[in-house]
Symmetry: C2
Subunit: 117 residues, 2 copies
């Protein structure tokens, strides 16, 4: 139906608190896998896989620097996420206005038995 693998991956990636914490850390700037793993109670391989998920979702990018793989935030996924949420927000505003009109309408003020689409 709605085949949007990027949105799927991005939202799924963001659903995990550890991954969100990693992103928050990256707000400060680039960091290596080891640096990212350090504050967490989980193993380094676990962090490595979280990073793979984030990269697959287009939320981070990685370079190669000797044996290190520094990570930084990536813009790729963010645009689509914003677009989707913007659509929902706009719909909410529109529907809210619609509700206001309905509540203000004389038809509603008199009686609200039947509901017409």
């Amino acid at each position: 139906m709605s085949a949007a693998p990027r949105l799927d991956a991005a939202f799924a990636a963001l659903a995990d608190p550890t991954r969100r914490a990693i992103l928050v850390r990256l707000v400060e700037g680039e960091a290596t896998v080891g640096e990212l793993a350090e504050p967490f109670a989980i193993s380094q391989p676990a962090v490595s896989r979280h990073l793979k998920v984030l990269e697959g979702a287009g939320l981070i990018e990685r370079r190669v620097d000797g044996t290190k793989r520094p990570c930084r935030l990536a813009p790729a996924a963010l645009t689509e996420l914003d677009a989707y949420l913007a659509m929902l927000r706009k719909a909410l505003e529109t529907n809210y206005q619609r509700l206001d009109q309905l509540l203000a309408s004389p038809t509603f003020a008199t009686k609200q038995k039947d509901e017409t689409t």
Copy 2:
């Protein structure tokens, strides 16, 4: 760590394409469970549970109307989602500026080869 159950639930809810399709349908306005289930190949109980997830995440609200439970978009979760993504976007811009400054800095310029070939 970062205990943000609402964000967890909201992002997780949005990770499923069926649930996003349901939200897109709700952009048009209120709809009953049956109406929401109709376009999908999955069973009604499955849709019912998707709605429960969306409600739990604060992405939709439900009323009671006889035997029907009409659903509509809810604003609750959206604010937090926006806030989180806005933070990431801002960080991306900041880091990008930082990169620009680095590339423009004389320290960096001396290290680079001249590209006017």
